[in-house]
Amino acid sequence: MSSPAKLVSASGLRYRKVRDRLIEALLLAAGLVAVFTTLAIVAILLYESSTFFAHVSIVEFLTDTMWTPLFADAHYGILPLVAGTVTTTMVALLVAVPLGTTIAIYLSEFAPHHVRESVKPILELLGAVPTVVYGYFALTMVTPVLQWFMPDLPGFNMLGAGLVIGLMIVPYVSSVSEDAMRAVPRYMREGSYAMGATRLQTALRVVVPGAFSGLAAAFILGISRAVGETMVVAIAAGMQPNFTFDPRQPAATITAYIVQVSLGDLPHGSIGYQSIFAAGLVLMFITLIFNIIGFSLTRKFREAY
């Protein structure tokens, strides 16, 4: 620490002002890293895909139902990968939406304070488990259990992968939903209780409708998570592009395809190498749309009351 005399002297003041300016510039530069990351992602995906789309017409890319870029008879139709992604995401939502909403209603409307405070962090651990571990779980535990009920189920299937992804996004869905429900003002609940409604009636007929945009946001952000999930599907759903919406089938998703190509040794600049950027562009586009809708909905419920 400098002496007080120096701190208030003219040169000391000037030094501190200049230092403050410099530090502000440094901090701003750190903030800009986020902006540059986004720009770099968009630039890299567009740049590498542009060379891909110089070879493959966009019409073929969007309409062909075969995806075999690494075969001699190459087809570049993204539809099978999109079908795989849609199917696993739907299965995941069938798990995450009911479970996540129930937990959110319970935590927000029923649970005593200390239960909520101790359960939430534990629940969030479900989202913290490394996805490769979930992949192992889907392959060696969930699928064999499913095979008891469905003996014909192949070892690689989208059902097991989707169920596990669903579990993984439960804490995500429940925490955004709970936020939304707690944003519903107290007086609405009290009005309902005053009319003689029980907690469950209040929750289902007052709080849930009141928090509707927030619940929608939670589901949409959950979808975005499920769409981007990679390792579970790469391990447990098989990596064969397969144009089907039947969750009992093995299939590749957009993300699994990127992993599959990255595992091999494709030369930089080859069409296979470029195809993962085209696939990544589609993935980025899908999640971006869901994220924008989801975030604008969360902003809405935060402002509504």
Binding site: L7, L27, V33, T37, T38, T140, M141, T287, G294
Partner: protein, 313 residues
């Protein structure tokens, strides 16, 4: 319902039964809620127990000191855990300073204008970008444009970008929790903005910043997809060059450019082998990985709890 019917309803048995039924439903829902929650927690427990049970035959010292091998019983995770540690070192030393600085800027310095809004939107948006897209960014940018190759530096930087939003959001929350009165008092004594930040805001938000850092690293440690995309090797029978040298200048950064493997990659490699014997290796690696994430998360929860209790504004 006629007026007399309504009166009968209100005074009669039916009302009581209706209320009774709703009260029962209320109780039933409490039960359902508890069961669903416990089921989710049970899954977590089953997952952990399953990994430990399957991996039990591999839990010995050799597993930690052996390289990968074609024989399942002799294969270990030496290269993987050394790789993961070095990657985490790079990730932490990039993501933490940049993330904390960005958060300080957004909370303490940024004027309220469209430009700040752009940065904020970017941070929110980056948190939602799938991790594999970061892998593609790294492949195009770090590996080929910056010519880092398939190295520890490339992997560490990739994961640093990936956890940057987590660190920024956690730090912002911690900074926002510092009451304004403290800032005003410091300004009142003639402190500059940086002095207020450095001497008051940052020390009081250390707990939150640490929590964010640990949560970010626990996310990074298990990330598999982005480093597969960069091209991590799964079979490596040597260690990166040591950061500590016996000769001057004693510290070397040559390891940054070395090829690597990491825990999640090693586990993925073992999972995807058809040979059943390797599943035990995968389970053991998974148990260690899961154990590390659980410990880190537990630590974060504990730190948050401690600091929250200690601080009394």
């Amino acid at each position: 319902m006629s007026a007399s019917g309504a009166a009968a309803y209100l005074s009669g048995e039916r009302l009581r039964r209706g209320v009774q039924r709703r009260k029962v439903l209320d109780k039933v829902f409490v039960l359902v809620g508890l069961i669903v929650m416990l089921a989710c927690l049970a899954v977590l427990a089953i997952l952990f127990i399953d990994l430990i049970r399957d991996g039990a035959p591999r839990f010995n010292l050799d597993f930690f000191t052996n390289f990968a091998s074609r024989k399942a019983e002799r294969a270990g995770i030496l290269a993987a855990w050394v790789g993961t540690s070095l990657i985490m070192l790079v990730t932490a030393s990039c993501a933490v300073p940049v993330g904390v600085a960005a958060a300080i800027y957004l909370e303490e310095y940024a004027p309220k204008n469209w430009f700040t809004a752009v940065i904020e939107i970017n941070v929110t948006n980056l948190a939602g970008v799938p991790s594999i897209v970061y892998g593609l960014l790294a492949l195009g940018l770090f590996v080929y444009q910056f010519n880092l190759g398939q190295s520890i530096a490339a992997a560490g930087l990739t994961l640093a970008l990936l956890i940057l939003p987590i660190v920024i959001v956690a730090t912002r929350e911690a900074i926002r929790a510092v009451p304004n009165a403290i800032r005003e008092a410091a300004y009142g004594l003639g402190a500059t903005r940086w002095e207020v930040t450095k001497d008051h805001v940052l020390p009081y938000s250390t707990g939150g910043i640490l929590t964010g850092m640990i949560l970010g690293l626990s996310r990074a440690i298990g990330e598999t997809a982005p480093i597969i995309t960069i091209g991590a090797l799964s079979f490596i029978a040597f260690l990166p060059q040591s950061p500590i040298q016996s000769e001057f200048p004693f510290i070397s950064f040559a390891w940054l450019k070395d090829p690597f493997t990491a825990m999640p990659i090693q586990m993925f490699n073992w999972v995807s082998r058809p040979d059943q014997a390797f599943q035990a290796n995968a389970a053991a690696a998974g148990a260690i990985l899961l154990g590390m994430t659980l410990i880190m998360n537990g630590l974060a929860i504990w730190i948050r709890y401690r600091f929250r209790k200690k601080i009394n504004w």
